[in-house]
C-alpha cells in the first residue's frame, strides 16, 4: 500500500494560501491508518489503483491540459457564471464575480476553512488528509442573495497528474443557488478534491456534480455539507468513465429541521470501479432525507454504494428514506450495495431498500414488439432508467456528457 512518508517527500514544498493546511496535513498523515482491505470502507476498493493515483505528480502551473481547454467545453446557458480551477489560468483573485458572490479573504479562510470538515467528523479521513497535505488550489466563496446567477465550477484535469483542489462555499441565510461542479478527466489524470459547503438558515442549494472521464482518469472526492435549520440541500451526482472513482458525500444537519435530497448515478464500463460512500447525520430533530442511488455496471466493471444514515437519540421525528437501485448488465460485472442505518431515536421514520437486477425482459419485449431493435430498445430503457437522476441535474448539465453509448455488450443482459 501507499507509503505515506515516501509520498510526502515527493510533494513540492508547502506554499500559497493553503500553506498552513499543507503543513498540518503532512504532519497528521503518518498517524492515520492507510487504506487496507481489513478496513470496511476500503474493503471493496482496488488499492493498487488507489496507489497508482498517488504515484502521480501533483498538477501545477504549466501542467499539460490541452484536452481541457475552454474552447472544447460546451457553451453555458445564460446567465451561468463559469469559474475554472485551473492553475494555468489567471489568478482567481482577478475574476470579476457577479453581485452577491465574493471571495473569502485570508482571515476568513483561516477561520472558516475546515469547519465543515470538523462538523462532518472527517479529520481522520485518509482521503481528506491526503488532500490537505497536497492541495494548492482553493476557491473560497461567500454567497448572499436570492437572485444569484447559477454557478459552474470546472475542475480541469492534467495529463498524467494528480489535481488536488479545494472548494469552500458559504451560503448565507436565505440565499438560493444553483451550482454545477464538473470534474474533467482524460489521459491518466486524477482528481483529489474536498468541497466544503455551509448552508445557513433557510439557504437552498441545488448542487450538481459530474465526473465524466475517459476510462483512464480517476476521482477521489469529498463533498462535505453542513446544514442549519430550514435549509435545503439537493445533490445530484453522476459518475462515469472513471478508472477508479470514489465520491464521499457527507451531510450533517447540525440542528435538524432541514431537508436533504441526494440522487446519485454511477455508470461503469470495461474495467472501471466506481463507488459512492455517503454519510448523513441528523444532529437535531425533524430532519428530512430523500436518497436515491442508482448504478449501471457493464463488462467487467464494479460499482459500490455504501450509504450510512445516523440518527442519534436527539434526532426525533427524523424522516429518512434511502433507495439503492442497480442494474447489472453483464455476468462479469459486479455491484455491491450496502445500506447502513444507525438509528437510536425511537420516534422516527426511516426506510431503505436495495435492488440489483437486469433490464426487465418484459419491457424489452414490449419495445421490440413495436419494431424497435434490441440495441435501441436497451438504450432507450437504460436512458429511461438513468433519467430520474439526470433530470434532477441543474444547469442543463446533460450537455457535459453523452449517455447514448452506454452499452458495450448489449446482448449479454438478454
Amino acid at each position: 500500500m501507499l507509503n505515506s512518508n515516501e509520498w510526502l517527500t515527493s510533494l513540492p514544498d508547502p506554499k500559497g494560501k493553503l500553506k498552513e493546511v499543507q503543513v498540518r496535513g503532512r504532519k497528521s498523515l503518518p498517524n492515520i491508518d492507510s487504506p487496507s482491505k481489513k478496513n470496511e470502507i476500503w474493503r471493496l476498493t482496488n488499492l493498487d489503483r488507489l496507489k497508482a493515483i498517488f504515484d502521480l505528480p501533483i498538477a501545477f502551473k504549466g501542467s499539460e491540459s490541452e484536452e481541457n481547454r475552454a474552447e472544447y467545453w460546451p457553451d453555458s446557458p445564460e446567465p451561468v457564471f463559469r469559474i475554472s480551477l485551473d492553475p494555468n489560468e489567471d489568478s482567481i483573485e482577478s475574476i470579476k464575480l457577479p453581485e452577491g458572490i465574493r471571495l473569502l479573504n485570508n482571515n476568513e479562510i483561516e477561520q472558516i476553512l475546515g469547519h465543515v470538515v470538523n462538523r462532518c467528523e472527517c479529520n481522520n479521513n485518509w482521503l481528506v488528509t491526503i488532500n490537505k497535505a497536497s492541495s494548492y488550489h482553493l476557491l473560497a466563496l461567500k454567497i448572499q442573495g436570492r437572485s444569484i446567477p447559477p454557478l459552474e465550477i470546472i475542475m480541469p484535469s492534467y495529463r498524467g497528474r494528480l489535481s488536488s483542489t479545494r472548494v469552500l462555499i458559504i451560503l448565507e441565510e436565505n440565499t438560493e443557488l444553483d451550482l454545477l461542479q464538473v470534474f474533467l478527466g482524460t489521459n491518466n489524470s486524477a482528481h483529489s478534491n474536498i468541497t466544503e459547503i455551509h448552508l445557513d438558515q433557510e439557504a437552498k442549494l441545488n448542487h450538481g456534480v459530474i465526473a465524466d472521464g475517459d476510462g483512464s482518469s480517476s476521482l477521489m472526492g469529498q463533498i462535505l455539507v453542513e446544514q442549519k435549520t430550514r435549509s435545503e440541500y439537493y445533490l445530484t451526482n453522476v459518475l462515469k468513465g472513471l478508472f477508479l472513482g470514489r465520491l464521499e458525500p457527507y451531510v450533517v444537519q447540525s440542528d435538524g429541521k432541514a431537508k436533504t435530497s441526494l440522487r446519485g448515478l454511477q455508470i461503469s464500463n470495461k474495467l472501471e470501479q466506481i463507488g459512492t460512500y455517503s454519510n448523513i447525520r441528523f444532529d437535531g430533530p425533524e430532519g428530512d432525507l430523500d436518497q436515491l442511488q442508482k448504478a449501471v455496471a457493464t463488462d467487467s466493471s464494479h460499482c459500490v454504494f455504501n450509504g450510512q444514515i445516523i440518527v442519534p437519540r436527539h434526532a426525533q421525528r427524523t424522516n429518512a428514506s434511502q433507495l439503492s437501485r442497480n442494474l447489472l448488465l453483464s455476468s462479469r460485472a459486479r455491484i455491491d450495495t450496502k445500506p447502513e442505518l444507525a438509528i437510536v431515536a425511537d420516534d422516527v421514520r426511516c426506510t431503505h431498500g436495495a435492488t440489483v437486477s437486469q433490464l426487465q425482459d418484459e419491457e424489452l419485449f414490449y419495445m421490440r414488439s413495436r419494431g424497435i431493435s434490441i440495441k435501441e430498445s436497451m438504450q432507450m430503457l437504460l436512458k429511461g432508467y438513468c433519467e430520474d437522476v439526470l433530470s434532477s441535474l441543474p444547469l442543463k448539465a446533460k450537455r457535459w456528457f453523452e449517455i447514448d453509448q452506454l452499452i458495450t455488450s448489449s446482448k449479454e443482459s438478454t
Partner: protein, 262 residues
C-alpha cells in the same frame, strides 16, 4: 368482413409450443385472410395468450412442432422486431409501465421503424407530433399521456387506449388484441372497440382474444374459435360466441374429454 378470393395473411399449422418443460399449445391450426375479424375465446390457461405472444415472437416460448406463415414467410425464424416491422401487432393484455422512457419518443421511434420498413419517409419530431395528434382522436386520448413515461401511472383504460393508439400509428397488417376489453368500463370499451373498427380495412385482419360477448357486441367477428387444452376445439360464426355466453365452456370441456377417450 369475409371477402371472396381474399389473400391469406396468416397460416398456423399444427403448432406445438412449450414454456420451460410445460406444453401449452398442442396442435393449433388457424387461417386468417385479408379483411377478416377472428375472435379467439376460451378459459384461462387454454393457450390463447400464449398463441398471441408466440405470434409476436416472445422469446420465452419454445416451438416444438408446426409452422406459422405470414404473407408467405416463415414467421418462426424472425425476431420480434422483424415481425412488427412486417406488420404484426400485439395489443398487450397487461401493457408494461416503463418509467423514464417518454411515451411520445417511444411512439415516434416505433412509428418511424415501421414506416422505414414500408419504404415510407420517416417523420421528424414536428411531423410526428401532427401525425400522433391526428390519431389520438381514434381513441379519444388526452394528449397529456404523450408527455408521460410509457404507461406509467395510466389507468387500465388509458393503457388500452395507448395500445390502440400504437395500432393506429403502426398501421399493422394483422392486429392481435389480447383481452383488450379486460379492465375496461362500458364507455372505455366502446371507445376502444370503435377505434378497432375504424382501423379495420379490407387489406388488414384482426384477431381478438376475449372472454366476453360484450366486446363482440361492439366488434362483430367473422369467425369465432374456441380454444381448450392448447388446441382450437370449435370454429363457427358469431353465433358460437352467443352459445358460449349462454352455456359456458363446460360443453367444450366435455367435447375435449370425449376426444381424449376416443
Amino acid at each position: 368482413m369475409i371477402i371472396s378470393d381474399s389473400k391469406l395473411i396468416l397460416e398456423i399449422k399444427n403448432l406445438h409450443a412449450r414454456i420451460e418443460d410445460k406444453p401449452i399449445l398442442k396442435g393449433v391450426n388457424l387461417q386468417v385472410k385479408e379483411g377478416e375479424i377472428h375472435a379467439l375465446m376460451g378459459r384461462n390457461g387454454s393457450g390463447k395468450s400464449t398463441l398471441a405472444k408466440i405470434l409476436a415472437g416472445h422469446p420465452s416460448y419454445k416451438i416444438t412442432e408446426g409452422q406459422i406463415t405470414f404473407q408467405d414467410k416463415n414467421l418462426l425464424t424472425l425476431e420480434p422486431e422483424e415481425r412488427a416491422r412486417m406488420g404484426i401487432f400485439l395489443g398487450f393484455q397487461y401493457p408494461v409501465e416503463i418509467p423514464g422512457v417518454s411515451n411520445l419518443e417511444f411512439l415516434r421511434v416505433a412509428t418511424n421503424t415501421r414506416r422505414s420498413a414500408r419504404q415510407q419517409e420517416e417523420l421528424d419530431t414536428f411531423e410526428f407530433e401532427d401525425f400522433v395528434h391526428s390519431k389520438l382522436e381514434v381513441v379519444q386520448m388526452d394528449p397529456v399521456f404523450l408527455e408521460r413515461s410509457i404507461n406509467e401511472g395510466f389507468s387500465g383504460g388509458e393503457k388500452k387506449r395507448n395500445e390502440i393508439l400504437q395500432m393506429a400509428l403502426l398501421e399493422p397488417i394483422i392486429s392481435i388484441l389480447d383481452e383488450t376489453d379486460s379492465g375496461l368500463d362500458i364507455d372505455a370499451l366502446r371507445i376502444v372497440a370503435s377505434g378497432v373498427n375504424q382501423l379495420s380495412s379490407p387489406q388488414t385482419a384482426t384477431l381478438l382474444i376475449t372472454h366476453y360477448q360484450r366486446l363482440l357486441n361492439e366488434i362483430t367477428p367473422d369467425f369465432v374459435h374456441v380454444m381448450a387444452d392448447g388446441e382450437i376445439q370449435r370454429t363457427g360464426g358469431s353465433e358460437l360466441a352467443l352459445e358460449l355466453e349462454k352455456s359456458g365452456y363446460e360443453w367444450i370441456d366435455r367435447a375435449v374429454k370425449v376426444g381424449e377417450s376416443e
